[in-house]
């Protein structure tokens, strides 16, 4: 029994005969090449790539999505920059991904210091380290300039703040403002004088 080339098939028993017939050149020989129309595919890919390039962010994701956290909306368009992140969800407070306390326990706490001790410890250590890095000059020229501007009382442009005393607060929109005040007071006490409130663009 002679061995034959299987030829183009759609499935095991379905040949592409109808396509092959349509491609026949009229010379009595069946052409086995099938021309797929790639134009719509290329069109779709071009549109998709254009769209994705438009939404591409070179700064990447500074904030991580959290369960039970819906950011408040605002018209502000200033870009976010990298800094230590304090997250306040409906149920807990975390710093750099580590659990600090539950919101319930913080709301119950009526301490006269009006700050969250566990968060203060972490922030204080972080603030000291950042201050040390800035003092030792472990910064890029742009950041160094931002720090010099800050010391001279000049207002930096958005996204170019000096990392000294800079932190991001990522809190749920329904968070009680008393809890936000506690977090802000704790941050200030630890040396974070400049807070960036993360918001979602309208």
């Amino acid at each position: 029994m002679p061995v034959r080339s299987p030829g183009p098939r759609l499935y095991r028993s379905v040949k592409f005969e109808y396509l092959v017939h349509s491609q026949a050149g009229g010379h009595g020989v069946k052409a086995s090449n099938i021309a797929l129309n790639l134009t719509p595919f290329v069109d779709m890919m071009t549109i998709l790539v254009t769209f994705l390039l438009m939404v591409f962010s070179s700064s990447g994701e500074i904030l991580q999505a959290q369960k039970g956290l819906a950011l408040p909306t605002a018209d502000a368009k200033d870009v976010l920059q990298t800094a230590p992140v304090i997250i306040v969800t409906k149920s807990e407070i975390t710093y750099q991904g580590q659990l600090i306390a539950t919101t319930e326990s913080v709301m119950r706490d009526e301490s006269p210091t009006f700050k969250i001790d566990a968060l203060f410890e972490r922030l204080d250590a972080a603030a000291k380290k950042i201050k040390e890095d800035v003092a030792l000059g472990k910064l890029s020229p742009a950041v160094k300039k931002a720090c010099d501007d800050m010391r001279n009382g000049l207002r930096p442009s958005a996204g170019r703040y000096c990392p000294e005393g800079l932190a991001i607060l990522q809190a749920d929109e329904s968070t009680d403002v008393r809890l936000v005040n506690k977090v802000v007071n704790t941050s200030k006490a630890a040396g974070f004088d400049n807070l960036l409130f993360a918001v979602k663009n309208k």
């Binding site: 200033d78 703040y161 802000v184």
Partner: protein, 168 residues
């Protein structure tokens, strides 16, 4: 990318472009962009926790200037000027929402006044209780409107630490 001119027939003027590398490139680019895409646009509002928390005292120079204070309560917003002790109250709208448009209009009025023509600072506080809650969203909206009105140096304060606090 290759091109085959005049395939087969001598009189043929059709040009066949080899689009395989192009499709390869597009596929790789699409995959990369889909993986790295950021779907939510996140911005920031820059605030300075002004030194008016409970355990701090005001500096002498702070007492000399008029400060525009905003107190957000669950049923209204107060605008106050320290030293001159002028207060304005903005009630909620008929549909139970804070009247942010009126709030912004009043801020713009203040910005054009002699006190704040060359200044951009404002302090905002939210007063929340167990029964009358003020949410973070309301504070953010107030800050957003203040920035739009020209008060870009937003300070967050405790209600008790506001320079101008209405006597209720």
């Amino acid at each position: 990318m290759g091109a085959a001119i005049g395939t087969g027939d001598k009189k043929s003027v059709n040009v066949e472009l080899n689009i395989v590398p192009f499709i390869d490139l597009m596929s790789c680019l699409t995959a990369f962009l889909l993986v790295t895409a950021v779907w939510v646009n996140i911005a920031q509002i820059d605030i300075h926790p002004k030194g008016k928390s409970r355990d701090q005292t005001l500096k002498t120079e702070d007492l000399d200037k008029v400060v525009l204070s905003v107190l957000i309560q669950s049923d209204r917003i107060w605008l106050g000027l320290s030293r001159v002790n002028e207060f304005q109250s903005i009630d909620k709208t008929a549909d139970g929402q804070q009247n942010w448009d009126e709030f912004e209009a009043k801020l713009r009025e203040q910005k054009s006044s002699a006190y704040f023509a060359d200044r951009t600072d404002i302090e905002i506080a939210g007063e929340s209780t167990d029964t009358n809650k003020v949410s973070y969203q309301e504070v953010i909206t107030a800050m957003d409107r203040a920035i739009k009105a020209g008060f870009v140096d937003v300070g967050l304060s405790d209600p008790a630490g506001l320079a101008a606090r209405p006597q209720l």
